[in-house]
């Protein structure tokens, strides 16, 4: 079983949830039915929540989704949930602090460019699934060769952590922003 966790309030500023329903649908078409999606977060917009349920029902993947219906701190999640894959919505190849914290918590992370107006060069941003098709292919690979993909995820995590460290030049720039030279 592949368990994908999406940590996000069900709200209109994070509204890429139907992408996950589409993912389950496309996987099901290829007879990959062992994928579960758990939405972790408070439901702030019930219209969006109902849309997720309706679309899941239409595409016959209702049994593969579940909701916590409340925001839960990562530390308070059960060990079973923490063993799953944490999917992060990205704008292009930009990874925010939630991704870093998730890596630091030792979780396995999938980064997905949910912004359809940003077209990523997959070579330059291999740590991010460039679009929905790339995400589908990624999960298909995960279903086939989980150990190898887990290893890729670990390597990506190291690269991402390194990207967040400041170089000497960057420290100098930041210092010049904070501190007056007078």
């Amino acid at each position: 079983m592949i368990k994908i966790n999406v940590v996000a309030r069900i709200a209109d500023d994070k509204n890429h949830f139907l992408d996950l329903i589409y993912l389950l649908h496309k996987l099901k078409e290829e007879n990959i039915n062992n994928v579960q999606v758990l939405f972790i977060g408070a439901i702030q917009n019930y219209g969006i929540y109902e849309n997720i349920l309706n679309m899941a029902n239409l595409l016959s993947v209702s049994s593969q989704i579940s909701f916590t219906k409340a925001s839960i701190r990562i530390n308070d999640l059960s060990p079973e949930i923490k063993q799953g894959y944490f999917l992060h919505f990205c704008a292009g190849d930009f990874i925010g602090y939630s991704g870093i914290e998730s890596i630091n918590d030792g979780l396995k992370n999938i980064f997905y460019n949910a912004d359809r107006q940003v077209h990523l060069n997959t070579g330059a941003a291999a740590h991010v699934c460039a679009d929905i098709n790339a995400l589908i292919e990624f999960v298909k690979r995960l279903a086939k060769e989980q150990a190898a993909v887990d290893q890729e995820i670990r390597q990506n995590s190291i690269k991402i952590l390194n990207d967040f460290a400041l170089t000497a030049d960057e420290k100098s720039v930041l210092l010049s922003i904070l501190k007056s030279s007078k």
Binding site: A91, I95, Y97, A114, D163, F164, L166, I177, L178, S180
Partner: protein, 165 residues
């Protein structure tokens, strides 16, 4: 922590590592949040007050605190602080004419995909002052700002990556 709070935390951490003493000003919200003790544990002074309206007769201490900070930031910020930083362009209007300083940095922490019709709803006057700098944290924001506000941008726009201090 949310992303904006985390960025503020990392900036203050970096400041402390470099012998800068940051003061964290939280406007219009007197309720302590979960992150207050985190900042305080790192020796960051946290001030919660208002600087736009002083009428708080039932709580004179709060009223005098407001007056103190409003005057200090309007007339003496340049003397007391090396720089002023605002988290989120959606917050800039709160200080635009109330904290006067030659080195103001407005950190941009959202993308337009988070807004209805992919249109930001910032007040145009936050881009007015050529001495101010908007600091974007990803390259997409730079394009988004120039696309939507090209006619009104007079301030500097720069890019600095998200970081862990």
């Amino acid at each position: 922590m949310g992303g904006a709070e985390k960025l503020m935390f990392e900036i203050t951490q970096f400041a402390r590592q470099n012998e800068i003493e940051p003061t964290l000003l939280i406007l219009d919200n007197y309720n302590k949040e979960y992150y207050d003790p985190i900042f305080e544990a790192n020796n960051i002074t946290v001030i919660r007050t208002r600087i736009d309206s002083f009428k708080h007769f039932r709580a004179p201490a709060k009223m005098f605190t407001s007056i103190y900070w409003a005057v200090k930031l309007k007339y003496f910020a340049d003397k007391n602080y090396d720089s002023i930083h605002v988290m989120g362009l959606y917050n800039v209007y709160r200080i635009l004419h109330r904290i006067e300083h030659k080195r103001r940095f407005f950190w941009h922490v959202t993308n337009n995909a988070q807004y209805t019709n992919r249109e930001y709803n910032f007040y145009g006057n936050i881009f007015d002052c050529p001495e101010d700098t908007i600091v974007c944290i990803n390259k997409y924001q730079v394009n988004e700002l120039y696309t939507e506000y090209s006619n009104v941008i007079k301030c500097k726009i720069s890019l600095f990556k998200l970081f862990v201090a």
